[in-house]
Symmetry: none
Subunit: 259 residues, 2 copies
Protein backbone atom coordinates (compact mmCIF):
# COMPACT_ATOMS: atom_id res chain seq x y z
CA UNK A 1 0.00 0.00 0.00
CA UNK A 2 2.81 2.42 0.98
CA UNK A 3 4.26 2.09 -2.53
CA UNK A 4 1.22 3.96 -3.86
CA UNK A 5 2.02 7.02 -1.75
CA UNK A 6 4.29 9.72 -3.09
CA UNK A 7 5.73 12.80 -1.38
CA UNK A 8 6.07 15.85 -3.66
CA UNK A 9 8.12 18.87 -2.56
CA UNK A 10 7.61 22.13 -4.45
CA UNK A 11 10.67 24.34 -5.07
CA UNK A 12 12.43 23.50 -1.82
CA UNK A 13 15.08 26.13 -0.98
CA UNK A 14 17.16 24.29 1.60
CA UNK A 15 18.75 20.97 0.65
CA UNK A 16 18.92 20.15 4.39
CA UNK A 17 15.13 20.04 4.42
CA UNK A 18 15.12 17.55 1.55
CA UNK A 19 17.42 15.31 3.56
CA UNK A 20 15.27 15.63 6.69
CA UNK A 21 12.19 14.78 4.62
CA UNK A 22 13.93 11.66 3.29
CA UNK A 23 14.68 10.54 6.85
CA UNK A 24 11.09 11.17 7.96
CA UNK A 25 9.81 9.22 4.93
CA UNK A 26 12.05 6.26 5.61
CA UNK A 27 11.05 6.28 9.30
CA UNK A 28 7.42 5.99 8.19
CA UNK A 29 8.24 3.47 5.41
CA UNK A 30 7.25 5.66 2.43
CA UNK A 31 9.87 5.75 -0.32
CA UNK A 32 8.76 7.69 -3.39
CA UNK A 33 10.02 11.28 -3.42
CA UNK A 34 9.49 13.75 -6.28
CA UNK A 35 11.14 17.18 -6.24
CA UNK A 36 9.78 20.00 -8.33
CA UNK A 37 12.54 22.51 -9.23
CA UNK A 38 14.58 22.19 -6.00
CA UNK A 39 17.19 24.94 -5.52
CA UNK A 40 19.96 22.40 -5.09
CA UNK A 41 19.77 18.66 -5.59
CA UNK A 42 21.61 16.37 -5.26
CA UNK A 43 23.49 18.10 -2.48
CA UNK A 44 25.86 16.84 0.24
CA UNK A 45 23.85 18.78 2.84
CA UNK A 46 20.76 16.75 1.91
CA UNK A 47 22.77 13.52 2.18
CA UNK A 48 24.08 14.47 5.63
CA UNK A 49 20.68 15.48 7.00
CA UNK A 50 19.07 12.29 5.69
CA UNK A 51 20.94 10.26 8.37
CA UNK A 52 21.36 7.30 6.08
CA UNK A 53 18.10 7.48 4.14
CA UNK A 54 20.29 7.75 1.02
CA UNK A 55 18.20 5.24 -0.92
CA UNK A 56 15.26 7.63 -0.83
CA UNK A 57 17.42 10.47 -2.14
CA UNK A 58 19.08 8.29 -4.79
CA UNK A 59 15.74 7.24 -6.24
CA UNK A 60 14.13 10.72 -6.00
CA UNK A 61 12.89 12.15 -9.29
CA UNK A 62 13.43 15.79 -10.17
CA UNK A 63 10.79 17.36 -12.43
CA UNK A 64 10.06 20.80 -13.84
CA UNK A 65 6.39 21.25 -13.12
CA UNK A 66 3.72 20.40 -10.53
CA UNK A 67 1.81 18.57 -13.27
CA UNK A 68 4.77 16.28 -14.02
CA UNK A 69 4.92 15.22 -10.38
CA UNK A 70 1.26 14.26 -10.05
CA UNK A 71 0.24 13.30 -13.62
CA UNK A 72 -0.55 9.64 -12.82
CA UNK A 73 -2.13 10.27 -9.40
CA UNK A 74 -5.82 9.98 -8.72
CA UNK A 75 -5.74 11.58 -5.29
CA UNK A 76 -3.78 14.75 -4.73
CA UNK A 77 -3.61 16.36 -1.31
CA UNK A 78 -1.86 19.67 -0.76
CA UNK A 79 -0.73 21.11 2.56
CA UNK A 80 -2.17 24.46 3.38
CA UNK A 81 -2.27 27.04 6.12
CA UNK A 82 -5.71 27.76 7.47
CA UNK A 83 -7.85 30.60 6.20
CA UNK A 84 -7.37 30.80 2.46
CA UNK A 85 -9.82 33.32 1.07
CA UNK A 86 -11.24 30.75 -1.36
CA UNK A 87 -12.36 27.77 0.75
CA UNK A 88 -11.49 24.29 -0.46
CA UNK A 89 -12.25 20.93 1.14
CA UNK A 90 -9.86 20.82 4.11
CA UNK A 91 -8.94 17.69 6.06
CA UNK A 92 -7.17 17.34 9.35
CA UNK A 93 -4.17 14.95 9.22
CA UNK A 94 -6.19 12.05 10.60
CA UNK A 95 -9.00 12.30 8.08
CA UNK A 96 -6.39 12.86 5.39
CA UNK A 97 -4.77 9.55 6.38
CA UNK A 98 -8.08 7.73 6.04
CA UNK A 99 -8.67 9.15 2.54
CA UNK A 100 -5.12 8.34 1.48
CA UNK A 101 -5.31 4.77 2.77
CA UNK A 102 -8.66 4.14 1.09
CA UNK A 103 -7.34 5.39 -2.20
CA UNK A 104 -4.04 3.51 -2.01
CA UNK A 105 -5.86 0.32 -0.98
CA UNK A 106 -7.85 0.59 -4.20
CA UNK A 107 -4.52 0.69 -6.09
CA UNK A 108 -4.56 4.37 -6.91
CA UNK A 109 -1.50 6.59 -6.87
CA UNK A 110 -1.66 9.27 -4.21
CA UNK A 111 0.39 12.47 -4.08
CA UNK A 112 1.01 14.46 -0.90
CA UNK A 113 2.24 17.87 -2.01
CA UNK A 114 4.23 20.14 0.31
CA UNK A 115 4.90 23.79 -0.50
CA UNK A 116 7.88 26.12 -0.34
CA UNK A 117 9.47 26.83 3.05
CA UNK A 118 8.52 30.50 2.96
CA UNK A 119 5.19 30.68 1.19
CA UNK A 120 3.72 27.21 0.80
CA UNK A 121 1.75 26.27 -2.31
CA UNK A 122 0.40 28.86 -4.74
CA UNK A 123 -3.32 29.26 -5.22
CA UNK A 124 -2.98 27.73 -8.67
CA UNK A 125 -1.29 24.64 -7.19
CA UNK A 126 -3.80 24.37 -4.35
CA UNK A 127 -6.66 24.44 -6.85
CA UNK A 128 -5.18 21.39 -8.59
CA UNK A 129 -5.59 19.35 -5.37
CA UNK A 130 -8.60 17.31 -4.35
CA UNK A 131 -8.15 18.18 -0.72
CA UNK A 132 -6.08 20.44 1.41
CA UNK A 133 -4.65 19.09 4.62
CA UNK A 134 -4.12 21.41 7.55
CA UNK A 135 -2.08 20.53 10.62
CA UNK A 136 -3.95 22.13 13.53
CA UNK A 137 -1.06 24.20 14.86
CA UNK A 138 -1.05 27.07 17.35
CA UNK A 139 -2.79 29.88 15.41
CA UNK A 140 -0.24 32.36 16.78
CA UNK A 141 2.71 30.32 15.54
CA UNK A 142 1.48 28.01 12.87
CA UNK A 143 4.36 27.44 10.49
CA UNK A 144 5.89 24.01 10.90
CA UNK A 145 9.27 23.15 9.50
CA UNK A 146 8.80 21.39 6.13
CA UNK A 147 10.16 18.02 7.28
CA UNK A 148 8.08 18.21 10.47
CA UNK A 149 4.94 18.63 8.40
CA UNK A 150 5.90 15.61 6.26
CA UNK A 151 6.58 13.65 9.47
CA UNK A 152 3.16 14.43 10.96
CA UNK A 153 1.21 13.64 7.77
CA UNK A 154 3.08 10.37 7.18
CA UNK A 155 2.87 9.40 10.85
CA UNK A 156 -0.93 9.61 10.68
CA UNK A 157 -0.95 7.47 7.55
CA UNK A 158 1.27 4.84 9.13
CA UNK A 159 -0.58 4.90 12.45
CA UNK A 160 -3.95 4.45 10.78
CA UNK A 161 -2.64 1.78 8.47
CA UNK A 162 -1.39 -0.19 11.49
CA UNK A 163 -4.67 0.32 13.33
CA UNK A 164 -6.49 -1.09 10.30
CA UNK A 165 -4.19 -4.10 10.20
CA UNK A 166 -4.84 -4.60 13.87
CA UNK A 167 -8.57 -4.56 13.38
CA UNK A 168 -8.39 -7.03 10.53
CA UNK A 169 -5.75 -9.47 11.81
CA UNK A 170 -6.14 -8.96 15.52
CA UNK A 171 -2.39 -8.32 15.40
CA UNK A 172 -0.95 -7.10 18.67
CA UNK A 173 1.53 -4.78 16.95
CA UNK A 174 -0.08 -1.54 17.99
CA UNK A 175 -2.07 -2.48 21.07
CA UNK A 176 -0.80 -0.67 24.06
CA UNK A 177 0.94 -3.10 26.37
CA UNK A 178 -0.25 -2.10 29.80
CA UNK A 179 0.29 -5.30 31.71
CA UNK A 180 0.31 -9.11 31.59
CA UNK A 181 -3.03 -9.30 29.81
CA UNK A 182 -1.08 -8.69 26.62
CA UNK A 183 0.99 -11.19 24.64
CA UNK A 184 4.03 -8.88 24.59
CA UNK A 185 4.38 -9.13 28.39
CA UNK A 186 7.16 -11.33 29.75
CA UNK A 187 5.07 -13.51 32.06
CA UNK A 188 1.57 -14.93 32.27
CA UNK A 189 -1.04 -13.19 34.38
CA UNK A 190 -1.63 -14.71 37.80
CA UNK A 191 -4.86 -16.65 38.25
CA UNK A 192 -7.62 -15.61 40.62
CA UNK A 193 -6.52 -18.26 43.13
CA UNK A 194 -2.93 -17.08 43.09
CA UNK A 195 -3.90 -13.45 43.67
CA UNK A 196 -6.43 -14.42 46.33
CA UNK A 197 -3.73 -16.48 48.09
CA UNK A 198 -1.58 -13.37 48.14
CA UNK A 199 -4.36 -11.21 49.65
CA UNK A 200 -4.94 -13.73 52.45
CA UNK A 201 -1.23 -13.98 53.15
CA UNK A 202 -1.05 -10.17 53.12
CA UNK A 203 -3.93 -9.75 55.54
CA UNK A 204 -2.44 -12.23 58.05
CA UNK A 205 0.92 -10.49 57.86
CA UNK A 206 -0.65 -7.09 58.43
CA UNK A 207 -2.27 -8.45 61.57
CA UNK A 208 1.07 -9.93 62.70
CA UNK A 209 2.90 -6.61 62.35
CA UNK A 210 0.07 -4.79 64.15
CA UNK A 211 -1.02 -2.69 61.16
CA UNK A 212 -4.43 -4.25 60.69
CA UNK A 213 -7.23 -5.06 63.09
CA UNK A 214 -9.94 -7.18 61.41
CA UNK A 215 -12.35 -5.91 64.10
CA UNK A 216 -11.78 -2.36 62.83
CA UNK A 217 -11.03 -2.96 59.20
CA UNK A 218 -11.63 0.61 57.93
CA UNK A 219 -11.22 0.24 54.17
CA UNK A 220 -7.71 -1.10 54.39
CA UNK A 221 -8.06 -4.40 52.55
CA UNK A 222 -10.35 -2.85 49.95
CA UNK A 223 -7.78 -0.18 49.22
CA UNK A 224 -4.96 -2.71 48.98
CA UNK A 225 -7.04 -4.92 46.71
CA UNK A 226 -7.73 -1.97 44.47
CA UNK A 227 -3.99 -1.28 44.08
CA UNK A 228 -3.05 -4.81 43.11
CA UNK A 229 -6.10 -5.61 41.01
CA UNK A 230 -5.57 -2.47 39.03
CA UNK A 231 -2.11 -3.48 37.90
CA UNK A 232 -3.11 -7.04 37.06
CA UNK A 233 -0.25 -8.97 38.65
CA UNK A 234 1.69 -11.60 36.73
CA UNK A 235 2.82 -14.92 38.24
CA UNK A 236 6.39 -13.83 39.02
CA UNK A 237 5.10 -10.70 40.71
CA UNK A 238 2.79 -12.68 42.99
CA UNK A 239 5.75 -14.88 43.91
CA UNK A 240 7.89 -11.85 44.73
CA UNK A 241 5.17 -10.22 46.84
CA UNK A 242 4.57 -13.46 48.74
CA UNK A 243 8.33 -13.84 49.16
CA UNK A 244 8.38 -10.45 50.90
CA UNK A 245 5.57 -11.56 53.22
CA UNK A 246 7.39 -14.81 54.03
CA UNK A 247 10.58 -12.93 54.82
CA UNK A 248 8.65 -10.54 57.08
CA UNK A 249 7.02 -13.40 58.98
CA UNK A 250 10.32 -15.28 59.25
CA UNK A 251 12.00 -12.18 60.66
CA UNK A 252 9.29 -11.84 63.32
CA UNK A 253 9.33 -15.46 64.41
CA UNK A 254 13.16 -15.77 64.31
CA UNK A 255 13.47 -12.88 66.69
CA UNK A 256 10.80 -14.37 68.94
CA UNK A 257 12.63 -17.71 69.00
CA UNK A 258 16.06 -16.25 69.59
CA UNK A 259 15.04 -14.69 72.87
Amino acid sequence: MQERIRVVLMETSHPGNIGAVARAMKNMDVSELVLVRPDSFPDPVADARSSGALDILASARVVEKFEDAVADCSLIVGTSARGRSFPWPVLNPRDCALKVLDSAAADNNVALVFGREDRGLSNEELQRCHYHVHIPANPDYSSLNLAMAVQVILYEIRMNSLLRLENSDASAYISPVTGPDNSAWDDAPATFDEVEGYFQHLEKTLVAIGFHDPEKPRQLMARLRRIYQRCHLDKTEVNILRGILKATNRMISNQRNQH
Copy 2:
Protein backbone atom coordinates in the same frame (compact mmCIF):
# COMPACT_ATOMS: atom_id res chain seq x y z
CA MET B 1 -4.52 22.34 30.05
CA GLN B 2 -1.37 22.64 27.91
CA GLU B 3 0.32 24.46 30.78
CA ARG B 4 0.34 21.17 32.75
CA ILE B 5 2.42 19.47 30.07
CA ARG B 6 6.20 19.59 30.25
CA VAL B 7 8.80 18.42 27.75
CA VAL B 8 11.97 17.03 29.34
CA LEU B 9 15.08 16.41 27.23
CA MET B 10 17.81 14.20 28.71
CA GLU B 11 21.44 15.12 27.98
CA THR B 12 20.85 16.49 24.50
CA SER B 13 24.11 16.64 22.51
CA HIS B 14 23.19 18.98 19.67
CA PRO B 15 21.92 22.47 20.53
CA GLY B 16 20.26 22.57 17.09
CA ASN B 17 17.94 19.82 18.27
CA ILE B 18 16.96 21.86 21.32
CA GLY B 19 16.03 24.74 19.02
CA ALA B 20 14.03 22.46 16.72
CA VAL B 21 12.22 21.03 19.77
CA ALA B 22 11.34 24.57 20.92
CA ARG B 23 9.85 25.30 17.51
CA ALA B 24 7.84 22.07 17.49
CA MET B 25 6.59 22.84 21.01
CA LYS B 26 5.49 26.33 20.10
CA ASN B 27 3.77 25.02 16.95
CA MET B 28 1.77 22.69 19.18
CA ASP B 29 1.24 25.33 21.91
CA VAL B 30 3.20 23.63 24.69
CA SER B 31 5.66 25.91 26.43
CA GLU B 32 7.41 24.29 29.39
CA LEU B 33 10.82 22.91 28.50
CA VAL B 34 13.23 21.34 31.01
CA LEU B 35 16.74 20.33 29.95
CA VAL B 36 18.69 17.78 31.97
CA ARG B 37 22.46 18.33 31.54
CA PRO B 38 22.42 19.58 27.94
CA ASP B 39 25.87 19.64 26.25
CA SER B 40 25.49 23.30 25.35
CA PHE B 41 22.73 25.66 26.41
CA PRO B 42 22.01 28.49 25.84
CA ASP B 43 23.58 28.34 22.40
CA PRO B 44 23.20 30.51 19.29
CA VAL B 45 22.65 27.36 17.21
CA ALA B 46 19.59 26.53 19.33
CA ASP B 47 18.28 30.07 18.90
CA ALA B 48 18.70 29.91 15.13
CA ARG B 49 17.02 26.51 14.76
CA SER B 50 14.09 27.61 16.92
CA SER B 51 12.87 29.92 14.13
CA GLY B 52 11.62 32.49 16.55
CA ALA B 53 10.43 30.24 19.39
CA LEU B 54 12.89 32.16 21.57
CA ASP B 55 10.38 32.56 24.40
CA ILE B 56 10.40 28.78 24.92
CA LEU B 57 14.19 28.74 25.05
CA ALA B 58 14.37 31.80 27.34
CA SER B 59 12.07 30.20 29.91
CA ALA B 60 13.63 26.71 29.69
CA ARG B 61 14.98 25.35 32.98
CA VAL B 62 18.29 23.51 33.12
CA VAL B 63 18.60 20.88 35.86
CA GLU B 64 21.15 18.30 36.91
CA LYS B 65 19.09 15.17 37.34
CA PHE B 66 16.07 13.36 35.89
CA GLU B 67 14.49 13.57 39.35
CA ASP B 68 14.76 17.36 39.41
CA ALA B 69 12.89 17.60 36.12
CA VAL B 70 9.92 15.45 37.15
CA ALA B 71 9.69 15.77 40.95
CA ASP B 72 6.25 17.46 41.00
CA CYS B 73 4.77 15.40 38.16
CA SER B 74 2.20 12.69 38.71
CA LEU B 75 2.32 11.24 35.22
CA ILE B 76 5.68 10.53 33.62
CA VAL B 77 5.92 9.11 30.12
CA GLY B 78 9.27 8.19 28.58
CA THR B 79 9.98 7.56 24.90
CA SER B 80 11.36 4.17 24.13
CA ALA B 81 12.35 2.03 21.19
CA ARG B 82 10.47 -1.22 20.96
CA GLY B 83 11.80 -4.47 22.25
CA ARG B 84 13.29 -3.80 25.64
CA SER B 85 14.02 -7.11 27.28
CA PHE B 86 12.04 -6.09 30.37
CA PRO B 87 8.58 -5.10 29.17
CA TRP B 88 6.95 -2.02 30.65
CA PRO B 89 3.49 -0.66 29.88
CA VAL B 90 3.87 0.74 26.35
CA LEU B 91 1.50 3.15 24.64
CA ASN B 92 1.29 4.24 21.04
CA PRO B 93 1.30 8.03 20.58
CA ARG B 94 -2.48 8.21 20.31
CA ASP B 95 -3.17 6.33 23.54
CA CYS B 96 -0.39 8.34 25.16
CA ALA B 97 -2.21 11.54 24.19
CA LEU B 98 -5.42 10.31 25.82
CA LYS B 99 -3.63 9.50 29.09
CA VAL B 100 -1.80 12.82 29.09
CA LEU B 101 -4.97 14.81 28.43
CA ASP B 102 -6.90 12.99 31.17
CA SER B 103 -4.17 13.66 33.65
CA ALA B 104 -3.68 17.32 32.68
CA ALA B 105 -7.44 17.89 32.71
CA ALA B 106 -7.46 16.73 36.34
CA ASP B 107 -4.82 19.41 37.08
CA ASN B 108 -1.84 17.12 37.37
CA ASN B 109 1.62 17.92 36.07
CA VAL B 110 2.70 15.64 33.24
CA ALA B 111 6.26 15.08 32.00
CA LEU B 112 7.10 13.76 28.55
CA VAL B 113 10.70 12.61 28.71
CA PHE B 114 12.86 12.25 25.59
CA GLY B 115 16.22 10.51 25.63
CA ARG B 116 19.66 11.18 24.20
CA GLU B 117 20.07 11.38 20.43
CA ASP B 118 22.28 8.31 20.27
CA ARG B 119 20.97 6.01 22.96
CA GLY B 120 17.65 7.23 24.30
CA LEU B 121 16.78 6.82 27.96
CA SER B 122 18.66 4.52 30.34
CA ASN B 123 16.92 1.56 31.92
CA GLU B 124 17.03 3.35 35.25
CA GLU B 125 15.25 6.36 33.75
CA LEU B 126 12.71 4.20 31.95
CA GLN B 127 11.86 2.44 35.20
CA ARG B 128 10.95 5.77 36.76
CA CYS B 129 8.22 6.28 34.17
CA HIS B 130 4.61 5.16 34.38
CA TYR B 131 4.41 4.44 30.69
CA HIS B 132 6.68 4.21 27.72
CA VAL B 133 5.50 5.66 24.44
CA HIS B 134 6.65 4.12 21.20
CA ILE B 135 6.24 5.76 17.78
CA PRO B 136 5.43 2.89 15.42
CA ALA B 137 8.23 3.53 12.94
CA ASN B 138 9.58 1.32 10.16
CA PRO B 139 11.26 -1.50 12.08
CA ASP B 140 14.19 -1.43 9.63
CA TYR B 141 14.80 2.26 10.17
CA SER B 142 13.20 3.22 13.39
CA SER B 143 15.22 6.08 14.83
CA LEU B 144 13.44 9.41 14.48
CA ASN B 145 15.23 12.68 14.88
CA LEU B 146 14.68 13.98 18.44
CA ALA B 147 12.61 17.02 17.43
CA MET B 148 10.54 14.87 15.06
CA ALA B 149 9.65 12.57 17.93
CA VAL B 150 8.62 15.57 20.06
CA GLN B 151 6.57 16.87 17.13
CA VAL B 152 4.67 13.60 16.68
CA ILE B 153 3.92 13.14 20.39
CA LEU B 154 2.77 16.75 20.85
CA TYR B 155 0.79 16.67 17.60
CA GLU B 156 -1.24 13.72 18.92
CA ILE B 157 -1.89 15.56 22.16
CA ARG B 158 -3.03 18.69 20.35
CA MET B 159 -5.10 16.77 17.81
CA ASN B 160 -6.90 14.79 20.51
CA SER B 161 -7.43 17.83 22.65
CA LEU B 162 -9.11 19.57 19.70
CA LEU B 163 -11.20 16.47 18.94
CA ARG B 164 -12.35 16.40 22.56
CA LEU B 165 -13.39 20.02 22.43
CA GLU B 166 -15.45 19.15 19.37
CA ASN B 167 -17.13 16.18 21.06
CA SER B 168 -17.12 17.57 24.56
CA ASP B 169 -20.09 15.42 25.62
CA ALA B 170 -18.63 12.20 24.35
CA SER B 171 -15.23 12.59 25.99
CA ALA B 172 -16.25 11.67 29.51
CA TYR B 173 -17.82 8.52 28.18
CA ILE B 174 -14.76 7.49 26.19
CA SER B 175 -12.13 7.66 28.92
CA PRO B 176 -12.23 4.60 31.09
CA VAL B 177 -11.45 5.32 34.73
CA THR B 178 -8.34 3.24 35.22
CA GLY B 179 -6.69 5.02 38.08
CA PRO B 180 -5.96 8.34 39.75
CA ASP B 181 -4.93 10.02 36.50
CA ASN B 182 -8.61 10.51 35.86
CA SER B 183 -10.84 13.15 37.40
CA ALA B 184 -13.43 10.55 38.44
CA TRP B 185 -10.96 8.91 40.87
CA ASP B 186 -11.40 9.51 44.61
CA ASP B 187 -7.93 10.84 45.39
CA ALA B 188 -5.15 12.76 43.65
CA PRO B 189 -2.25 10.85 42.10
CA ALA B 190 0.97 10.78 44.09
CA THR B 191 3.81 12.89 42.68
CA PHE B 192 7.13 11.49 41.50
CA ASP B 193 8.78 12.52 44.78
CA GLU B 194 6.15 10.79 46.91
CA VAL B 195 6.42 7.55 44.96
CA GLU B 196 10.22 7.72 44.92
CA GLY B 197 10.15 8.15 48.72
CA TYR B 198 8.10 4.97 48.94
CA PHE B 199 10.54 3.00 46.75
CA GLN B 200 13.48 4.06 48.91
CA HIS B 201 11.62 3.15 52.10
CA LEU B 202 10.63 -0.18 50.51
CA GLU B 203 14.19 -1.02 49.47
CA LYS B 204 15.56 -0.32 52.97
CA THR B 205 12.85 -2.45 54.54
CA LEU B 206 13.53 -5.33 52.16
CA VAL B 207 17.18 -5.21 53.21
CA ALA B 208 16.15 -5.14 56.90
CA ILE B 209 13.98 -8.27 56.54
CA GLY B 210 16.74 -10.05 54.61
CA PHE B 211 14.83 -10.29 51.33
CA HIS B 212 17.03 -8.01 49.29
CA ASP B 213 20.79 -7.80 48.88
CA PRO B 214 21.78 -4.64 46.98
CA GLU B 215 25.02 -6.43 46.06
CA LYS B 216 23.00 -9.09 44.24
CA PRO B 217 19.98 -7.08 43.14
CA ARG B 218 18.71 -9.45 40.43
CA GLN B 219 15.81 -7.47 38.94
CA LEU B 220 13.96 -7.18 42.23
CA MET B 221 13.59 -3.41 42.50
CA ALA B 222 12.87 -3.08 38.78
CA ARG B 223 10.07 -5.61 39.09
CA LEU B 224 8.62 -3.91 42.14
CA ARG B 225 8.82 -0.53 40.43
CA ARG B 226 6.99 -1.97 37.47
CA ILE B 227 4.13 -3.18 39.66
CA TYR B 228 3.59 0.13 41.41
CA GLN B 229 4.27 2.43 38.43
CA ARG B 230 1.76 0.43 36.42
CA CYS B 231 -1.08 1.00 38.86
CA HIS B 232 -0.24 4.68 39.27
CA LEU B 233 -0.58 5.10 43.03
CA ASP B 234 -2.70 7.83 44.57
CA LYS B 235 -1.65 9.81 47.67
CA THR B 236 -3.65 7.76 50.18
CA GLU B 237 -2.24 4.55 48.74
CA VAL B 238 1.33 5.74 49.14
CA ASN B 239 0.52 6.60 52.77
CA ILE B 240 -0.93 3.14 53.38
CA LEU B 241 2.02 1.36 51.78
CA ARG B 242 4.48 3.44 53.78
CA GLY B 243 2.41 2.76 56.91
CA ILE B 244 2.92 -0.97 56.33
CA LEU B 245 6.67 -0.44 55.98
CA LYS B 246 6.78 1.62 59.20
CA ALA B 247 4.85 -1.06 61.09
CA THR B 248 7.24 -3.71 59.77
CA ASN B 249 10.30 -1.75 60.86
CA ARG B 250 8.75 -0.96 64.25
CA MET B 251 8.01 -4.64 64.81
CA ILE B 252 11.62 -5.57 64.06
CA SER B 253 13.16 -2.93 66.30
CA ASN B 254 10.64 -3.42 69.15
CA GLN B 255 11.48 -7.08 69.32
CA ARG B 256 15.20 -6.27 69.27
CA ASN B 257 14.75 -3.81 72.13
CA GLN B 258 12.56 -6.06 74.26
CA HIS B 259 15.24 -8.65 74.63
